[in-house]
Point group: C2
Chain length 678, copies 2
């Protein structure tokens, strides 16, 4: 009987997700305007596509991809049909897009679907691609076959820059993994892949001018220039710009293994350790000669108009320790290291501009000495972004969009680039806020689990940057996110499937039902709490095969349980259906430890979660007692209450770098049980 109770939670969750505030269309991001029509367009073997207006090889490949995708989603093998004049779906772009995709290009489209046909029109292929993605999200089975509901959609993005940054330095991410993430980005209409290609722990792109950058500055894992070109073409075909970042003058230890002469300190340097102190020497002309050559090479390799030079977290320790550098600061009447970095950035900006690129960097590059043409990416917040805009600088928001901080989707969703101080900007200043970027820093991801760290949460950031500002309903967001998650599986993302394999690896068996019950209600510790400097430097070659590496950043079960307890409390503890569901879950949790314990002892990877499993069991037991008191409308002894709240406090404590996310709603139940409403 235990066994059977255990698995229930998953099932109930899924039911709850479909029941709650179902929107009419499972679209993410929500389009600017959606006008439902009457009837449905059948999608069957006769489905065909015709193109009029502009077309080129890139758009053709996009349409073929669309056809393959709709085939996957329906299981219907569509074959190309010649001269389909009565095609089901008409596609018409007025003219072509720019050869190199530009910031601010028109991305609008119109999609009309009736019971007899559909049409996507757009000024250019960028809009067509977005319209096709919207169409794919609308395909669903019905009693009469696969259909797309009749609808008229007019859509365009709120912000022109909707990006995802992926750090490939700390852990190398192979091209094929990045490609499927591009597919997912295209599905949610993101249009910039910001490729963080170098950092202290690894230099990841081939330089033919400076081969020691990867030769000594990586563990052998990097992208060749051919791979980069092919990747950029892949992104271009999906309406996505690829912007490279080479983070300097800080975060550049990997450069110094091959080229120690660039650094401000004595070295020697290794990839494994040395913190973030190593920093480029901006006082010597040889540094600029090197960067002239390097940036010229990379500017050719990456066609995008923007070139990201990083510029963050310069702690200046090596500058302080180097008498020559201090003398230079003094000789040039600089006040401090910030002025020295500004000097470096001014020199850098000229090199970048000479290569016909716009320089972009993190918050710290902002300095009055720099021209207004540069762009600032804010990891510090809307205030810093607003200040830049007031000074005439363009900017992007990344504060609030750090996926590696393990926040729930709702928290990212609540962050708006135009909120806070940005809300008070003049219209002209507001235009300088170009959009934002989600950031996936790679201290704790591998090719195996990166999808689950990015998706599906990244989709809500995509919606924030695309959809109208007033689209903020969290229940609707989660319902649509659930549908999108399934949609992403058809694109080959492993954000759901990876966890199963990783749990099976830990357990050494396919039977992970009890383990899954525990994994379903925990989340990784938040923010930067997984590691602290007292532990020493992170070993970036250590296995990431623990429970924390397998679980999802957000627990759907805990969120569902929390809302169920809230509903039960709001009913004055009288909602019988809610109580039954709560009781079922609590029973499953109470009984899970007995089932899981034998497995935990068998595997070194599971031993650390034993206290979590025991705590979950204790919480289940406490909750059931609370329900019994509530059922009897009986007041409870203070001693019981204190005892149970101590159990909750214990369960809230981090274990194995994980948090038991059902502790908080259990507390509510116990406190409610102690003071039941009449």
């Amino acid at each position: 009987m235990r066994t059977l109770l255990i698995v229930t939670v998953i099932v109930l969750i899924a039911t709850a997700a479909t029941a709650q505030s179902q929107p009419q269309f499972n679209l993410m991001p929500i389009p600017s305007t959606v006008q439902p029509g009457a009837g449905q367009l059948p999608i069957d073997q006769s489905f065909s596509v015709a193109m009029t207006g502009f077309h080129d090889a890139s758009l053709d490949s996009g349409v073929r991809r669309f056809q393959a995708q709709i085939s996957k989603q329906t299981g219907i093998p569509f074959r190309p049909k010649a001269g389909a004049t009565n095609a089901t779906l008409q596609i018409h772009p007025d003219h072509g897009s720019e050869a190199v995709q530009k910031l601010g290009e028109d991305e609008s489209y119109e999609l009309t679907v009736s019971d007899s046909g559909a049409k996507v029109t757009a000024p250019n292929p960028l809009g067509i691609l977005h319209g096709l993605e919207t169409f794919l999200q609308l395909v669903q089975p019905s009693a009469n076959g696969f259909v797309v509901p009749a609808v008229t959609i007019k859509d365009q993005p709120r912000f022109p820059w909707r990006g995802l940054m992926i750090d490939v330095s700390r852990h190398f991410i192979p091209i094929d993994v990045l490609k499927r993430n591009l597919d997912a980005m295209a599905a949610v209409k993101m249009n910039v892949l910001h490729w963080h290609l170098s950092d202290d722990q690894g230099f990841r792109v081939e330089s033919k001018k400076f081969p020691k950058l990867t030769g000594m500055g990586s563990d052998g894992m990097y992208y060749t220039q051919d791979e980069v070109r092919e990747f950029i073409a892949y992104a271009h075909n999906r309406g996505i710009r690829v912007m490279p970042e080479f983070d300097i003058p800080g975060h550049s230890r990997s450069w110094f293994l091959g080229y120690p002469e660039l650094s401000s300190g004595p070295g020697p340097y290794t990839l494994e350790g040395g913190g973030i102190d190593p920093i480029m020497n901006p006082t010597q002309e040889s540094t600029y000669k090197f960067l002239e050559k390097f940036i010229a090479e990379m500017a050719k390799l990456f066609p995008d108009a923007y070139f990201h030079i990083g510029g963050d977290e310069v702690n200046g320790k090596q500058w302080d320790a180097n008498p020559k550098i201090q003398a230079f600061i003094h000789a040039h009447n600089m006040k401090n290291n910030q002025d020295l970095q500004a000097y470096f950035n001014q020199r850098l900006q000229k090199i970048v501009a000479k290569n016909h690129k716009t320089m972009i960097g993190w918050d710290e590059i902002l300095h009055p000495d720099l021209p207004k043409t540069i762009t600032v990416q804010s990891w510090r917040g809307q205030k810093s972004l607003a200040e830049a805009a007031k000074q005439g600088y363009s900017g992007l928001l990344s504060f609030g969009y750090y996926l590696d901080l393990m926040w729930p989707a709702s928290r990212h969703y609540a962050v708006d680039p135009m909120s806070g101080e940005a809300a008070n900007l003049t219209p002209e200043e507001q235009k300088r806020i170009l959009g934002g970027e989600a950031c996936q820093w790679a201290e704790w991801v591998t090719p195996e689990n990166i999808d689950s760290h990015i998706w599906p949460r990244n989709a809500v950031i995509a919606e924030r940057l695309w959809s109208p500002q007033q689209v903020t309903d969290v229940d609707s967001m989660y319902a649509r996110l659930n549908a999108l998650s399934l949609h992403l599986e058809w694109l080959g993302l492993t954000h759901r499937s990876a966890r199963t394999l990783m749990l099976q690896r830990m357990a050494g068996t396919e039977d992970i039902s009890a383990l899954r019950v525990l994994a379903d209600v925990v989340e990784p510790v938040k923010d930067y709490n997984r590691w602290d400097d007292a532990k020493g430097p992170i070993d970036f070659h250590a296995p990431l095969n623990r429970m924390i590496d397998a679980v999802h950043p957000e627990s759907d079960v805990a969120r569902w349980f929390q809302s169920l307890v809230a509903k039960y409390a709001q009913s004055g503890y009288k909602d019988q259906a809610a109580e039954t569901q709560i009781r079922t879950s609590l029973t499953a949790w109470r009984d899970n430890d007995a089932k899981l314990s034998p497995l935990l002892g068998q595997s070194f990877l599971l031993q650390e979660v034993a206290p979590l499993s025991a705590n979950l069991s204790a919480l289940g037991g406490a909750g059931l007692q609370a329900l019994d008191y509530l059922d009897k409308s009986q007041s409870v002894p203070d001693s019981w209450r204190a005892q149970q709240l101590a159990v909750v406090e214990g369960a809230k404590k981090r274990q194995a770098d994980l948090l038991l996310m059902v502790a908080a709603p259990l507390q509510q139940l116990i406190e409610g049980g102690a003071n039941p409403k009449p």
Copy 2:
């Protein structure tokens, strides 16, 4: 409560699988000799590999693949280590393998593992590859880390030819799907991929001499010669030969779209219809001129020593209808069409031999006029194989190994090439039985579900052909097959994951728990019962997205339930634990229809399974009543018994081309309930 009962079945199954007759090592195929040792070899970040003796690029790539695989299985990122003299695993092949892998090459190896290190030695790299696969199957988590148990294994195959035939004509299977199947074959030590490249419905390999073969004889989906060469190299690196089959003179309609002059009938021909009547004309010299050129081209493309010319199912209708062909038969003193096919095969054999290849074909090519150098592949049985061997012909068994017939693994497992008439052959004759081949005919598979049709069942055929003849324990087989199935997921096979996606597609939602309960207890109809000719020709472009296309060929749940009922009956209906498990399942089944029905109505793909769902519910109810009678040791009214058996009979009827596999054990329960033991 319904919800929770429903899911239980899956969990119980998994538990049962691990509990039953657990073998000491989860190896499949079982090696010839296994000698367990004391202790365990730790697999941690210090794991390293060193090679001595022979090595070449192919073996190096095999060792790199091994390292990547062990990394996947453990989550430990092993980095190449220079000059590892104290390596954890020593690899030593005495000498190289043949440049083109040969039938009968030594594939033996020895693997010794102690608590301090391991060693794989073999005469050549073929054995090394097998030894590394064995090592991978032994890696498991323990309380102290990942380990490999100490063991000494001496192993070699029983048969030199252990193949898998894949038909890529009826449904095209892309190279990447075939590649992961090669990976799986290597994991179970199969060594021949028999590539059925042409048939009535499509010609699948590029001919530069005869471009219309694919240009008109396919739907545009075929392999280029570059792809073929790359695929053969991929197979070679895994110790697998690639043997092409071009099926002639029958099964050749696709040839005639571009080259109608080859055929015996008037045409015109299409890929879509026309049955198996179209056949080559063996009476005209131009046919042989064509085949001379064609075979010369293909013999160069495919380096394997064997060339498969098909030769099966010649119905002779076009020969009968063609007066010129009848005149030819008469003029050459042939008795019948069989003699004409033998004449054709004789001519063909000379062409094949001129290209330094051994001709191989299906049963029907056997004819006294053909030289003893040809090889016969028997789809008719051991008798036919034994007769060939007596006549001096070499042969392979495929009878009993047709994966498309949807048999349970145990049924394939029971088929031995040396049983029946073959058991009475002389030792010399027995040597002519080279092994066997599993066959995956492609009427009903797509790239999406082909993995689940082949795996994991194919592994038991691999074991039959590799392991000693006395390895026949079915319980052990199923336990090890379960472990192997998990192992295959690490290779990227989709034999388990595809079903989930397909069920979600049918349902249009992620919540498929009730649908899964039904899917878990059904199997596709067996043998060729899915289709009969009265329905007309199969539409090979029709969607394969029904329940029958998603479910596994064998129901693990039904097999488990059957054995549970048997155990309960053997106990005289007194085993309380068994009864509890049975009752839980029956309750889940009884209640499942109410949960599933709403979903079934929403999707056209699910409507057809509504009667199955109702029947499952009825069976559950009937079974629970039977248990109640058994509990009370109460004799039951005849009317009840008759009524319940009628329910069982109804549930046994095919619905939606599916069989409800728990009907039979339910019958046992009801009959037991009617006549309980005292």
